[in-house]
C-alpha cells in the first residue's frame, strides 16, 4: 500500500477515474484491516463464528465504511491523521453489526420484564456494618422508587435494559426504530431525575462515593 499524506488522500479520493482508483483500493484495504481488528477483538461475543464468516462480515463492513468515508470527506476537519478519522467509520460499522448479531435472538421486552428489581441482592453491601448497610438499602430503595414511579415508560425501559440488563444502546435504537442519540437522551433524562432525587433526599454525592471507596 502506498504511503500518503492527509492532503494526498483527500486530493486523490476526490479525483476521478484512474487517479482515484489506487487511493480507493488502498483506503478499502485500510478499512478492511480496521473492521477485521474490531470484529476479532470482540470475537468471543460472536458465538463461535468461523474465520470465513468473520472475514466475509469484515468485507461487508469495509465496503459500507468506504461509502460512509467518501460521503463525509468534506466533514474531515484535519484535526487527526486521515487514516485515524477513516478507521472510526470501519470500527463503528463493524461493532454495530457485531452487537446486532449478538443480540438478534433476544427479546428486549422479556429481558426488561424479567429484571425484577423488587428481589435484589446488593452485591458487596457491607453486611457487618448496620449503619452503612442501611444507607446502601436506602440508596437502592430511592433508585428503585424513581425508576418505578418517576420515569416515563420509555425512560424506564431504556434504563432497565441498558443499566440492569447490559443491552447495548444501539441495539435498543435499532429495535425501537429510534436514533441512537434519542436513546442516549432518554437515559440521560432518567439519570438526571435519579440524581435530583438522591440529592433531594439528602444523599451527598461526595459522601456516597467516599463510603463506597471504604470497601
Amino acid at each position: 500500500m502506498k504511503k500518503r499524506t492527509t492532503e494526498e488522500w483527500l486530493q486523490q479520493l476526490q479525483a476521478k477515474g484512474a487517479e482515484q482508483e489506487p487511493a480507493l483500493a488502498d483506503l478499502r484495504a485500510h478499512l478492511l484491516h480496521a473492521a477485521l481488528y474490531a470484529l476479532n477483538r470482540y470475537r468471543s461475543e460472536t458465538r463461535g463464528r468461523s474465520f470465513d464468516d468473520i472475514s466475509a462480515l469484515a468485507e461487508d463492513c469495509a465496503q459500507n465504511a468506504l461509502v460512509a468515508v467518501l460521503a463525509h470527506l468534506n466533514d474531515f476537519r484535519h484535526d487527526s491523521e486521515f487514516t485515524t478519522w477513516a478507521y472510526k467509520f470501519a470500527v463503528n460499522t463493524a461493532l454495530v453489526v457485531q452487537r446486532r448479531q449478538q443480540w438478534k435472538d433476544v427479546s428486549l421486552d422479556r429481558l426488561v420484564a424479567e429484571a425484577d428489581l423488587e428481589n435484589v441482592l446488593l452485591d458487596a453491601a457491607p453486611q457487618h456494618d448496620p449503619d452503612r448497610l442501611a444507607t446502601y438499602r436506602e440508596l437502592w430503595l430511592t433508585i428503585r422508587s424513581v425508576i418505578e414511579h418517576d420515569l416515563t415508560e420509555r425512560q424506564r425501559f431504556v434504563m432497565i435494559a441498558i443499566v440492569f440488563q447490559s443491552v447495548p444502546l444501539d441495539v435498543i435504537s435499532e429495535r425501537l426504530g429510534v436514533d441512537r442519540n434519542a436513546i442516549y437522551k432518554l437515559l440521560h433524562d432518567a439519570r438526571r431525575k435519579l440524581k435530583q432525587s438522591l440529592v433531594q433526599r439528602g444523599f451527598a454525592p461526595s459522601e456516597i462515593m467516599a463510603d463506597f471507596s471504604r470497601d
Binding site: Y87, K88, V120, R191, M209
Partner: protein, 89 residues
Amino acid sequence: MRRVKLEPIVQRILDTSEDEITCSECFDAISPYVELEMQGTKVSDEMARVRHHLGQCRVCREEYETLRDLVRSERETKTKAVNRANRRH
C-alpha cells in the same frame, strides 16, 4: 434473586451532567480525541465532554477503545519497522 452492584450504578447517576454531548457529537470528535490521548496532551473543555460521554456510554467507549488500540498497534508496528531498517544501515 438478582444481584446488583450498586456502586457503578450510583457512580453513573452521580456523574450525570445537566448538559451532555450526544453519541454523534462524540463520534465526530473521537479521532482527534484518540490522538490527543495517545500524545498525553491535556484535553480541552470540549474533549473533557468527550471523556465524560465515554464514561457514560458503553458502546461509544468500546468503539473508542478499539480505535485507540488499533491506531496504537499500527504506529508501534511502523516504529519497529523503521528501527529495524535503521539498524541495518
